[in-house]
């Protein structure tokens, strides 16, 4: 009879060898090299940033923000055919303080633009904005006195073309944003638009706290506290 000596930590896909190596680990018999290999196979190492991005990207909470026709397709995305709840984004929050994704679905009238900006400011960091449809991205079908594009007054992360975009297109866009967050934690465009720290800051806090000075940013202005 031949005795075959098996390597302790040989093939990770082989169940028997994994079992043997786990037994050795329990007894404290693994050497440096084998120990390193053992640990590498079992522990997921990542940076804190990546872990945070993974959590943020997989759990958007969109704000209920429907303006016009695109809102109907946004609600259709929540519906059962293009179920956005598969990805975890079905928890639409009514309050902007609890939301982190603003899907601007519909045409932006000049009367509504300051309201949208205020709601965007009320959201807490990190926050993203999607300009859904042609009207919010670029005035869409209308090019007149009453409509303004979202980029004119707030930073937008993603534009989704369509009039209205199909719910599948919107889901594709949301997933693209998710990929962007998972892979690109540094969103350099924010400095271009002055989009850091766009929280609502009270006047009284502005006067006292130097750190709070960069709370209100106008697009294009350099960050005064930087």
């Amino acid at each position: 009879m031949e005795i075959v000596r098996r390597e302790k930590v040989s093939d990770p896909s082989d169940f028997r060898s994994r079992q043997l190596s786990a037994a050795s680990m329990m007894r404290g018999e693994l050497d440096d090299e084998q120990l390193d290999q053992y640990v590498e196979e079992r522990v997921l190492t990542t940076t804190l940033e990546k872990a945070a991005n993974w959590a943020r990207g997989n759990a958007f909470m969109p704000a209920t923000f429907g303006l016009a026709c695109c809102a109907i397709e946004m609600m259709a995305m929540v519906g059962s055919r293009v179920d956005i709840a598969r990805f975890g984004f079905e928890a639409f929050r009514a309050s902007p303080r609890q939301a982190d994704l603003l899907i601007i679905s519909g045409r932006i009238s000049i009367k509504m633009a300051p309201v949208i900006r205020r709601i965007y400011d009320q959201m807490l960091e990190p926050k993203w904005a999607i300009a859904m449809g042609a009207c919010s991205s670029s005035q869409g079908v209308f090019n007149n006195y009453a409509i303004v594009a979202a980029d004119k007054f707030m930073p937008v992360d993603l534009h989704i073309p369509g009039c209205p975009p199909r719910p599948e297109a919107l889901a594709h866009g949301v997933l693209k944003l998710r990929n962007k967050i998972l892979s690109q934690p540094d969103q350099g465009w924010r400095s271009r638009y002055g989009g850091q720290g766009t929280e609502e800051v009270l006047e009284s806090e502005l006067a006292g706290d130097a750190n709070a000075r960069h709370g209100i940013n106008v697009a294009g202005e350099a960050d005064p506290s930087a």
Partner: protein, 167 residues
């Protein structure tokens, strides 16, 4: 729709009541329109209510630029029992755009007259609460007048696109 003779009968009745009221009648594509003097609008609508047209379907403005008088207000009346429609039209100049409001007798005209004021600048005297309906309160100008620019962004082509300095 009252046919041409029916329209003339109505116009005749109105002229009997007030000689200055009716400035013209028009029967076009099967539809009847009465052109009346601005001061006679309320009286005309009440007379038509007596004639059975007791539903005011629409109050809207028209800008006849460059014809004068420029600003027109149209009232679409409906008789629900006989399903008959008639339009009443009045025209005013921009310098003196006052039309008496029909809101006290026809509550439906409330928001619609506000819209005509907002978009054309016709001032309805006697309206309980005349302020802008659609545009922001501090907007200047009356957008749907024909000489108001349409606004919007110029379409960017390669030849007129502003070049951004490379960073």
């Amino acid at each position: 729709m009252p046919d041409a003779t029916g329209l003339e009968l109505i116009a005749g009745e109105l002229r009997d009541a007030d000689a200055e009221a009716v400035l013209g009648t028009l029967h076009f594509r099967g539809r009847a329109t009465l052109l009346v003097h601005p001061d006679a609008v309320v009286g005309t609508l009440e007379h038509l209510r007596g004639r059975g047209f007791n539903f005011l379907a629409s109050v809207h403005g028209v800008d006849y630029f460059p014809e004068e008088p420029r600003l027109g207000v149209m009232y679409e009346m409906l008789d629900m029992r006989t399903v008959d429609r008639i339009s009443v039209k009045t025209r005013v100049h921009t310098e003196h755009p006052h039309v008496p409001s029909v809101t006290p007798g026809w509550p439906t005209a409330d928001l619609q007259e506000r819209e005509v004021y907002d978009m054309f600048g016709v001032i309805f005297s006697g309206h309980p609460d005349l302020r802008r309906s659609h545009m922001p309160e501090d907007y200047e100008g009356h957008p749907q007048r024909r000489d108001f620019p349409i606004g919007g962004e110029p379409v960017l082509y390669t030849h007129n696109e502003p070049r951004r300095e490379p960073e």
